[in-house]
Symmetry: C2
Subunit: 145 residues, 2 copies
Amino acid sequence: MSTEPSTTADPHEVLGYLLKHANLKLTALADAALEPLGIDSKDFGTLRVLAHREPASQLQVAQTLGIDRTTMVALLDALERKGIITRRPDPTDRRRNVVELTDQGLRTYDAAQEAYAKAESTFLAAISPTATSQFRRTLRTLLTD
Amino acid sequence: MSTEPSTTADPHEVLGYLLKHANLKLTALADAALEPLGIDSKDFGTLRVLAHREPASQLQVAQTLGIDRTTMVALLDALERKGIITRRPDPTDRRRNVVELTDQGLRTYDAAQEAYAKAESTFLAAISPTATSQFRRTLRTLLTD
DNA sequence: GTCTGATCATCAGCAGTGCTGACGATCAGA
DNA sequence: TCTGATCGTCAGCACTGCTGATGATCAGAC
């Protein structure tokens, strides 16, 4: 049986391939949709975290996104240069930077949210709403395992 | 509505996050399972393509895997150094290299296939077989769109 | 035959990403 | 006041994937 593979004959059936390319496709769609706003899907992830939390430290944001704290630095540098976020020392713990959306950042986020939703719809256009929520639920289950 | 986001409040709900981390988790599991064999999940993809085709040119393999032809060079270099594949000029078109599994490569592939299947099962352990095939089908649909 | 344009594998170089390890500043507790 | 830990930052490394160039080769036009 192990020398007579059948179901794995098509590399396109392999989960790793499917996940990788699904991710690539969605990212490409999102990046294209967000490009007019001057941000990409990675930036958008950061904005989303900031928009839905109390002003957070850099580390908290990074951990929520699942990226390294050193990677977060450059990401925030770029967003700060664009006037989308601000950093200021946390008065209660001056080791920390409090990261917040600026007013402009909030406007950018609102526009970005629409753009991203559109990209996600495009990505999901081929499957039904039921299949979509099932898909999302499955992914969540696989991760929280 | 766009200023009152609800379903997107949790960054972990976002498709991009879910896909990325699902991919990361599966890759980590597969790499760990394949590590004793001296290969990783990327190498395994190459082996699978080679095992299920007529001896193919480098370009064909790269296109099947969806990676760049220049990336394929280094990948095959490593596999050749390990004695898993061979390259020889195609007699009918000497611009091409015919890439083939060696006998050792075939043995490695057989072992790798079992190891990878085990990793995939671990990854999918939390969902039912029905949900698994549904999941696979959905991914395929999203990509062939 | 001989050009011309295309194809293939390779290589150098570049950009993006993520990591480790170090640093200074700061905090919390002994 | 010490000691050890934490946070943000930075330099440096590794990995990946890309572009653009090169040399060898092929196929078709003439």
